[in-house]
Amino acid sequence: MVQLLFFYFALVVIGLGLRIVTCKNPVHSVLLMLLLFFHMAGLYLLLNAEFLAAVQVIVYAGAILVLYLFVLFLVNLREEIKMSPFVQKGKWAGLVAALALLITFLRGVFNFTLGPHGQYTIEKVQQITHTKAMGEAIYTTYILPFEIAGLILLVAVIGGLALAKKEDKGA
């Protein structure tokens, strides 16, 4: 049952991912992405990670997608701009490269051996609940990476501001 659910979610995620990048209409892409995010949340739920699933739905599906939609409506992409590709044989080279990558991944995945486990075993996570386990890990073991991840946001905000702000042509 769990495996069936996993394969359902996994296959849908892959299929939707492909559809999103091949879709011509950006609004359709965004709506499909909403579906994708819900299925990803399903995958997290299968891993007993209910906190991640909730965050996935609230932050990605709730907030970020709405931002995407706003941007799309503001930019108002009516017609597609078509340009001839710079490298003509790109399609086939890309296919070969992608296949090679896929084979490498698959070989890596099928020879995968699980390493030593950390302190958070499944039983322990179930006992203290996932949210608490994650909070503990983030605010103790990973506090420094967590703080520096905040710096990423700061830099992104400053960068976005610098690029979006209207130029005050003076001097």
Binding site: R107, G108, L114, T141, I148, V155, I158, G159, L163, E167
Partner: protein, 513 residues
């Protein structure tokens, strides 16, 4: 894991990550200063922000060189380490930041772009780069890599009126994110197979020998690909010419040096601490006992052999046919990545020392060259074609002389730092028996000499065809250029000092715990 209170206190953090802390706090203060100066005249505001940034970088270099150089310490369960190796590369990158900040004062004024965010992003970029080189933990590497990259993406797009800048930055952003994603994928596989993100623990696991090779190799390949994107090694170099051409000239110089130094430094750290650890001389008894230390060597050496060769050939050959000087220097930076990779393949002390020396020398000559390019340009893209350089030697003799010096150094001719750097790297490769690679490398640097010297030929032997009016020259730019030029000549004549320092730095790589 449980004694978290024991391992963390702020004073210790300041000791180990002082350089980063200075830059982060100063970056936050610069935001405030920018707001305070909002009402002031553009000219004053730009000058204040610029000089403050220069001062911050100088203070950071001082702190790194005086307070952190002798440290050998890690913090917070080995997330960051302070050792001579990290500090050496941190100093190289902060020097790049310092020179770039000094030139930016004039550059921004010439281009009518007085924006405080520029300096704030520059400070955060260097902070991220120092964090990247100090981290021993793959997760931390990813986070700091993103801090650095995001700041650089924004800086590359800073010329908002130029479609070249926008196009380049967009390409850089997309491909760079792709590279980061590859890196992250590799990290995830490493975490799955070895159960740790720390590269020293990973090395212990790998040297234990009880692992299946294939997942580790796949992860290793992904991590390498992620770093090669940032280094601009050949199959991952596609973004380089467009980005280097489009970005503001000073930022191009900074990108080509600081980002390359960060990527090379952290790649060597991952390689020689994590995947094929060089023997630790202290405190690791179970390391010394194993023979599996270089088990992965046969896998990565051929890969880097070919990539180094391709980088040298493709970089130098395509550079010959470029007509835009920034594009030409972009291809030359791909070739230089190839030369540095030769030092990595050698995988001996001389090779690592050579790469460190190369990074320092390359920082001086490359930022110097881009500084002259921006001065001759005046406004961005007014005079960037090689044709514009015809006859400049008689109109602007001092600028032409400086550019010639930097180009001669890049071509690797004595008596400049470029010659010594190439010499160290190739000598290390020959010592390990890579005769063919070294010979082909020297051959490609002959091709390289052609297009570097062609610029000098155009400047001195040709009549001018077009009036080129350079922009006003700012004093800090002159100081930065003179420092870079003196450094290039000094390192060419007396390389022993820096070489011995780089050697110390290289040796500490064996002792990261």
């Amino acid at each position: 894991m449980n004694n978290i209170n024991m391992s963390f206190d702020l004073y210790h953090l300041w000791q180990v990550c002082g350089g980063q802390l200075i830059l982060i706090v100063a970056g936050l203060l610069l935001i405030l200063v920018d707001i305070i100066l909002m009402e002031k005249d553009q000219e004053i505001r730009g000058r204040w922000m610029g000089w403050l940034t220069v001062f911050i970088f100088a203070a950071t270099i001082g702190h790194l060189a005086c307070r952190e150089w002798d440290l050998h310490d890690t913090i917070f369960m080995n997330v960051f380490s302070a050792d001579k190796y990290s500090i050496f590369i941190s100093i190289v990158m902060t020097c790049a930041g310092l020179l770039a900040a000094m030139m930016s004062i004039g550059y921004l004024r010439n281009n009518g772009l007085v924006r405080g965010e520029y300096y704030i992003l520059l400070v955060f970029a260097v902070a991220g780069a120092i964090g990247l080189i100090q981290s021993v933990d793959l997760l931390m590497m990813f986070i700091t890599l993103e801090v650095m990259s995001l700041a650089i993406y924004a800086l590359a797009a800073f010329l908002k009126d130029s479609s070249y800048s926008q196009e380049g930055a967009f390409k850089y952003f997309l491909l760079g994110s792709f590279g980061s994603a590859l890196f992250l994928f590799g990290v995830a596989i490493i975490y799955g197979t070895t159960g740790t993100l720390n590269i020293t623990q990973m090395a212990q696991y790998i040297s234990g020998g009880s692992y299946s090779t294939l997942p580790i190799l796949v992860a290793f390949a992904m991590i390498m690909a992620g770093f090669f994107f940032k280094m601009a090694m050949v199959p991952f170099h596609m973004w380089t010419p467009d980005v280097y051409e489009g970005a503001p000239s000073v930022i191009t110089g900074f990108m080509a040096t600081a980002v390359k130094a960060a990527a090379f430094g952290v790649f060597m750290k991952v390689l020689f601490v994590g995947f094929t650890p060089i023997l630790a001389s202290s405190g690791q008894p179970d390391f010394a006992a194993t023979v599996n230390l270089s088990a992965l060597g046969p896998y990565w050496k051929p890969v880097i052999w070919w990539l180094a060769l391709l980088s040298m050939f493709i970089g130098n050959l395509i550079a010959v046919s470029q007509s835009n000087i920034k594009r030409m220097l972009a291809y030359s930076s791909i070739a230089h990545a190839g030369y540095m990779a030769v030092g990595i393949i050698a995988a001996n002390g001389e090779g690592r020392m050579g790469v460190l020396f190369y990074l320092f020398a390359y920082t001086l000559m490359n930022i110097g060259a881009f500084g002259v390019v921006y001065l001759i340009d005046g406004m961005e893209r007014k005079a960037q074609d090689l044709e514009d350089y015809r006859g400049l030697g008689y109109i602007y003799p001092s600028l032409s002389f400086l550019l010639s010096l930097f180009l001669v150094a890049m071509a690797g001719l004595p008596p400049t730092a470029g010659f010594i750097a190439k010499f160290y790297v190739f000598a290390a490769a020959i010592k390990e028996g890579y005769f063919l690679l070294a010979a082909l490398g020297v051959l490609t640097s002959v091709i390289g000499a052609y297009y570097y010297l062609r610029v000098i030929y155009l400047m001195y032997m040709k009549e001018k065809v077009k009036d080129v009016e350079r922009g006003p020259i700012a004093a800090p730019t002159v100081v930065a250029l003179v420092i870079a030029a003196l450094g290039v000549v000094y390192l060419g004549l007396l390389p022993e000092n820096l070489a011995s320092v780089a050697n110390l730095a290289q040796q500490s790589l064996a002792m990261i715990f």
